[in-house]
């Protein structure tokens, strides 16, 4: 078990390093931030001076090594735009993103879990068809379109909810619901197919042959096994949403990490881009690590294989 944890930790560090490296070099392709930061018509000397100040005149490999050394210490440099510590700028946006992501995941799990179970248990009935049609629609509907429609209807026409922004529960409802539609649709579809597969298993017949009550068979034999792939998908979705749901955050003017990084890319704010992407990579890797541990809890076969 300790060996497993150490190995996974090593893999995780390697993955984060890979992402950070790629982002560093891709960011340099974006172009020259110095030209953007100075007012139009600034002289070539001014631009050169600024580049030297930002350390952008040094050889690329040297910049990279310096970046890595500092990044390991948590120092991603000063934001060109905000004039403050880049990681600080990113972390300030984390609560907004996390609130939105976790609300959407929780909603999606509940709705998707119920819908998927109903579809599996009512196989061949009209209700399965209805649920699965909605799930397919939910997965296929573009998030920006759904978001805009919801804003138009509940925000503009009915005036019940704010059209965007951040701060109160009413601000959270529309963007969280928008994301939850996709999340619940994905979970419902996966859970249904997973349950249908489990229902065919011999041990379900055994459970029924024991005369167990219907809900015992469902909870402890069907759902308990069908859950395992759903955990993976939930983790991946959580990772994605915690990385900032760029489209939703933009449509609803939600001050999250996704929107921040898009703005940073437009402004060629290298330190913020690098800090943001690194944070996302770390979150992703961390979640995957937790899921692997959770897998061992859920599936004794995996536990003893370690």
């Amino acid at each position: 078990m300790l060996g497993f944890v150490l190995r996974r930790l090593g893999e995780s560090l390697l993955a984060v390093w890979g992402v950070v490296t790629i982002v560093f070099f891709v960011t340099r392709i974006l172009g020259d931030p110095a030209a953007l930061l100075l007012p139009i018509g600034a002289s070539a000397q001014d631009i050169d001076a600024l580049r030297a100040q930002l350390g952008l005149d040094q050889p690329l490999m040297l910049q990279y090594v310096q970046f890595l050394v500092k990044a390991v210490q948590g120092d991603f440099g000063t934001s060109f735009q905000h004039g403050r510590d880049a990681m600080q700028v990113v972390l300030e946006r984390l609560p907004a993103t996390a609130t939105l992501a976790l609300t959407a995941i929780a909603l999606g799990l509940v709705i998707g879990g119920i819908a998927g179970s109903i579809a599996a248990l009512k196989r061949g009935k009209t209700i399965e068809f209805i649920v699965m049609t909605f799930a397919l629609l939910g997965q296929a509907t573009p998030v920006f379109w759904l978001g805009i429609m919801l804003i138009l209807f509940f925000g503009v026409n009915l005036g019940w909810l704010p059209t965007g922004g951040y701060g109160t529960l009413s601000h959270l409802i529309l963007p969280a619901f928008t994301l939850a539609v996709f999340v619940s649709a994905s979970i419902a579809r996966l859970l249904r197919s997973s349950m249908l597969e489990i229902l065919q298993e011999d041990y379900i017949r055994t459970a029924k042959a024991k005369g167990l009550l219907r809900h015992t068979v469902f909870v402890w034999h069907v759902a308990r096994n069908a859950l395992i792939p759903v955990v993976t998908m939930t983790a991946i979705l959580t990772g994605e949403l915690l990385g900032g749901s760029v489209v939703t955050e933009t449509v609803f003017s939600w001050p999250g990490i996704g929107r921040l990084i898009i703005q940073a890319i437009e402004a060629k704010d290298f330190p913020v881009i690098q800090a943001g992407i690194t944070l996302i990579a770390v979150i992703f890797v961390l979640i995957n690590f937790l899921v692997d541990l959770l897998y061992g809890v859920l599936d004794p076969r995996i536990r003893s294989a370690r």
Binding site: D202, R205, A209, K210, G211, R214, R224, P300, R301, S304
Partner: protein, 336 residues
């Protein structure tokens, strides 16, 4: 005395893309209390399906119970609600299925899966419950039962898992134990141990046993009565030794010839019944075995033979238009 189990006119079909599969065709038989019935027959003869149908475990669709009754202890299982049936399953009727590899839930401990059935059908709790679980594992010959209860199925060998299945099947002292190829996946020594175990159970508790198998040898060892099935029908049935000595169905005769006898055991050359099992989506019109039967008459091909008494032995019945002992005697004459 009324039989413990009485199946009457059970017909089960499956709706498949290839058409309707006639899996079980007006099957009728009964099992007396304390009797051990061995059911044999090739793959697809309806052995498992008729049991599943009787127990309310048939997947429907594609399965369909067209007609039939299954009287158990004076109650028709077919008329019972799902709820009533659940009270009988696992309690009064214990079941053991084939393939121990997939019949246990991989994510729950063996103890938990054993406890479930006890909690459902008995009043045992606390230390008494645990004591009974340990006792059950001891009865089926699992060493270190106390430690084994907290282990998962993948930590057990195939033979040990099959023992767990048997422990689950007999946990609540059922009046009827149904075992569907419970030893098929196991090697010969483990199989022998399990057969011993079942014999012990019968002795100690007077359990009625319905043992489904492909293996005539197992039937000879364990059963009082043998029932040979083919194409969802009974071909022959009767007390084990008369049926083994004087089979009246050509199918039984074939199965017995394929059993290696003492002399041939060294060579292990098995007699094969020619041809393949019937396609039950398009079954033969008459006797289902007729197309593969060298003794078949014109009538066999056109008319389904009823199950009739053979005559000399009470309870020995056959479904055949031909007189097999006479035909075999004739063959012997010619050979001489």
């Amino acid at each position: 005395m009324a039989p413990l189990l009485d199946i009457r006119n059970l017909t089960v079909e499956f709706d498949t893309p290839e058409g309707t599969v006639h899996a079980v065709n007006s099957l009728s038989y009964s099992v007396e209390a304390g009797e051990t019935l061995g059911i044999v027959g090739e793959s697809g003869s309806g052995k498992s399906v008729h049991i599943l149908a009787m127990m309310g475990l048939l997947p429907m669709p594609p399965g369909r119970i067209v007609s039939g009754e299954a009287w158990f202890d004076g109650q028709n299982l077919m008329d019972m609600s799902d709820r009533e049936l659940r009270a009988v399953r696992g309690g009064q009727i214990g079941m053991v299925f084939q393939d121990p590899m997939s019949s246990l839930n991989p994510v729950l401990t063996v103890g938990r899966q054993l406890r479930e059935v006890l909690v459902r059908h008995t009043d045992l709790t606390g230390t008494k419950l645990r004591a009974r679980m340990i006792e059950l594992l001891e009865i089926v010959g699992i060493p270190h039962p106390e430690a084994r209860l907290d282990q998962y199925p993948h930590e057990f060998s195939g033979g040990m898992r099959q023992r767990v299945m048997i422990a689950i099947g007999m946990a609540c002292n059922p009046r009827l134990l149904v075992a569907d190829e419970a030893t098929t996946a196991l090697d010969v020594t483990v199989q022998a141990q399990i057969l011993d175990l079942v014999r012990q159970l019968k002795q100690d508790f007077g359990t009625t046993v319905l043992w489904i198998t492909h293996d005539m040898g197992v039937v000879a060892e364990l059963a009082d009565t043998i029932q040979v099935m083919y194409g969802g029908r009974i071909m022959e049935r009767g007390p084990v030794s008369p049926v083994f000595r004087t089979p009246h169905s050509a199918y039984t005769h074939g199965l017995l010839k394929s059993l290696p006898d003492e002399g041939a055991r060294a060579q292990r050359r098995l007699y094969q019944i020619n041809g393949s099992p019937p396609n039950m989506a398009n079954p033969p019109k008459g006797d289902p075995f007729a197309p593969r039967n060298p003794y078949a008459t014109e009538r066999c091909l056109n008319e389904v033979p009823p199950l009739r008494d053979v005559g000399d032995v009470p309870g020995h019945k056959v479904a055949a238009w031909y007189d097999l002992p006479a035909l075999l005697a004739q063959e012997n004459e010619v050979a001489k």
